[in-house]
Symmetry: C3
Amino acid sequence: MITQLEFILPEFRRGYHLITNIVEKEIEKLPEIGLINIFIKHSSAGLTLNENADPSVRIDFETILNTIVPENQPNYIHTLEGNDDMPAHIKASLIGSSVTIPISNHRLNLGTWQGIYLCEFRNHGGRRKIVATIYE
Amino acid sequence: MITQLEFILPEFRRGYHLITNIVEKEIEKLPEIGLINIFIKHSSAGLTLNENADPSVRIDFETILNTIVPENQPNYIHTLEGNDDMPAHIKASLIGSSVTIPISNHRLNLGTWQGIYLCEFRNHGGRRKIVATIYE
Amino acid sequence: MITQLEFILPEFRRGYHLITNIVEKEIEKLPEIGLINIFIKHSSAGLTLNENADPSVRIDFETILNTIVPENQPNYIHTLEGNDDMPAHIKASLIGSSVTIPISNHRLNLGTWQGIYLCEFRNHGGRRKIVATIYE
């Protein structure tokens, strides 16, 4: 059996944001055993799993990803939509547009320290659309 | 219910190529609700979702990924298969070897600006094998 | 139908390690057609698919990922858990915490040169927990 729901996140500022609670509230009920795919319908934002406790991790994510994919490089040609746009596309493909998480005992079977991150790569990305698909 | 098909892409030159139409033609019929996993059977090419409109994005992908993973570095030891080989392996793991996409109303439920990219990291990668698995 | 099992890997040293055989032994029986998701319950280790033959590839993985995400940078603030900790979190999100692989004819339908890598990003990561979920 498949269940699917689409929802829109609140707007987040550029950076890395824990959204595990938001996702769990939207989903309501999980099967005993299964798999959930959480998918973001955008090419300049991403979803990943990472450390859910210390906010300094999310700050360093912003610092380090900006170093790996710097803005304002003279050899970029896709620049019309802003200096943050092309780096956002690259980061989106490095991080990925969906996460797949096992469901066990009616819960997301994440590790103790894992949470779901919305990675907002644009300066003003707006509200992002999510599709959650659950198999049981 | 599961459907699975394997197909071979035409040969693409090194770079980033929109293959959404090719994938849709191969698949033909999609269920009302489901999930598709598109998988590439290679370790020096990748699949990702990204901007489907402006070709300059795909050109900048090549520029930027080559900067993140440069060729011809003196500390690489896996060099027998060519200067493009080891960087291709790294890029393949950064980008990933499959994409999972929700299916809704018998269509790939992609965002307006999302398309499927074949990422060809080798200078002469040849024809690449794809496995598409559909759950409904 | 869904099958799910959880198992713990032996401890691996920092680096990139082929674990295809270990995963296959744990799983025992695969359906004729399906999909397997292999998930790691940690935020400082990852799973990826890459070249399964030449060990020099795995050595270059360590060299190159350390160059992309260097340790000991003055602008990192999440440093209390060691110099290897914050880079490990970034690498985990670049590489990803799960791989999804098609199953065909009761086997993992990997390409000839593809194997499953455990990517151990910590100096002393300990034993890592895996959840395998199989759909048929």
